[in-house]
Amino acid sequence: MAPRDSISAAIRAAVAAGRPALVGFMTAGFPTRARFKEDLAAVADVCDVVEIGVPFTDPMADGATVQRASFVALAGGVTLGWIIEELESAPRPAAPVLLMSYLNPLLAYGLERLPKDAAAAGVAGFIVPDLPREESADLAAALDDAGLALVQMVTPVTPAERLSTLCAAAQGFVYAVTMTGTTGKSVAVPDDVLDYMDRVRRVSPVPVCAGFGIRSRDQVRRLAAHVDGVVVGSALVEVLERGEDVRAFLQTLR
């Protein structure tokens, strides 16, 4: 099985067990570099898929929490090279690991060596929030050679025709952004969001996970019948920041 296929397999296994998959996001090296492996193990224990955020100086799609985490991680010396080294030397988690990064740190690392190094460290795919499909040919081709997924985002304002095009080419899962806006703001889950998730699911050959603003068990319950998984990001980052029990928090969302 190519690494990219492990992502959809993990999500489908959760769905087969009667619950939406839980995708947990954490910024690498936040709150500290020293705790990274331990935090990763805790998150991977409960989550079906783990997204590791590569910090960037200009996280334009992120709200206050992930911005803060990025700046602290950068100040602590976190780089993509360090993240890959840590993943290489950590016990391989059962849950597939994705890297979420803005494009520029990936370009700086080098598209020639990135896929190979990432695959060797156990990474199954990438999410790149400032890379629309029209600009993604080079990265997609490079990742494809190494069997890695480039996960596509769709949003409530994505027109129907574009939604079909994006979903048809999707790998791993479709990341369905719940709202227009940045990460972290808690959202109600009105009926039109459920309708939108249904629309995405109808055209997507891979599982659909809802993300942005998901913080509570109530939200997950309401979304459960309409998605294959949920992404919890800022809320998890805040739990890590406060040093609270990560497993206990994540269990409330399962």
């Binding site: 200009d58 799609a61 780089t79 494009l103 370009l107 700086a108 400032d130």
Partner: protein
Amino acid sequence: MSTQFSAGAPPADQLNARYPDMKGRYGRFGGRYVPETLVPALDRLQAGVSRHLPSADFQAEFAHELKTWVGRPTALTHAAALSRRWGAEVWLKREDLAHTGAHKINNAVGQTLLARRLGARRIIAETGAGQHGVASAAAAARLGLPCVVYMGAVDVERQAPNVGRMQLMGATVVPVTGGDKTLRAAIDEALRDWVSDPDGTYYSLGSAVGPHPYPYLVRELQAVIGREARAQMLEQAGALPDVAIACVGGGSNAIGLFHPFLGDTVQLLGVEAGGRGVGLGDNAASLTFGTPGVLQGSYSLLLQDADGQIQETHSVSAGLDYPGVGPEHAFLKQTGRVAYESATDEETLDALSECARAEGILPAIETAHAFAGARRYAARHPGARILIGCSGRGDKDMPILQRTVLKDYR
């Protein structure tokens, strides 16, 4: 393997072609690197630009506003005293005389007119020196649209007079305390606002940077500077200049001045902010010291470290204090058609003082970088006919000038 980020066709051939291309590329630079949420909004903007910008109706309305409200055409002034001092023939394109005090108003009026045609309910803008903020506030007030301006907290302090001007014209000024607290952080925050309401909000971007079609749109709206200057040179000087010189931060006044001269044998020189030295973090000269990368929607030259993290910049001028540059400038540098150099804070303030005393014109600190570059050019080319883009006036810089140039003044 890689095609998107490699050099591609020979630059000379690309320059002869029309650019940007359909994907907003200037050679290898440009493009549209934005969150998926903004893709439909940029598609609409692009369709709006294609439909309205060439239309006689839009152009007539734009020309009318430029003439009767902005005060165009702006003057071309023969700088007799600087000419004598430098041993050259110096001409100034006086964007400092435009309404609100800088070239920024050309773009702000054009984009606000476009926003109204696209049915926008509100205008947002970022600002560094405050000139695009003031211009956006003025244009929004004139056209009856609410306006929110994002401004780095550092710039709110160092360009305080402009904050009050925006507020008087009804705009809401939001100080940005995240990131580097200057222009870059203001653009990030404006993008976050736009992501939250991509349908009802029009983002009036103030420089020739950002995702396609902004670099193109801003160039087209600012090209009035070069078109006027070209005709005025022929009329008043009897010839085209040997060189046209402009300061470059994001690069809107420079591209506006340069673009109509690209087909002529006129040399073109952009002057970046050299700050306090050549080290990373000591300047804002992305074309001189930068490397290729993606920031805030386009692939261009950036001041970044080996890990692709964007570096903080230093410049005495808030308007040039930006670690990237418009993709068309990166392309024009690569082709060799435009030369770029930098001027330090010290040279710039010296040039500002000289211009003020010699010509009775107080240029903005941003603008003074062009004067510093022109003085050096004149030393290298005695007798040259030099056109300087006098992009804005320096009233807004009084708090900085009090602390620097005027600190020993009695």
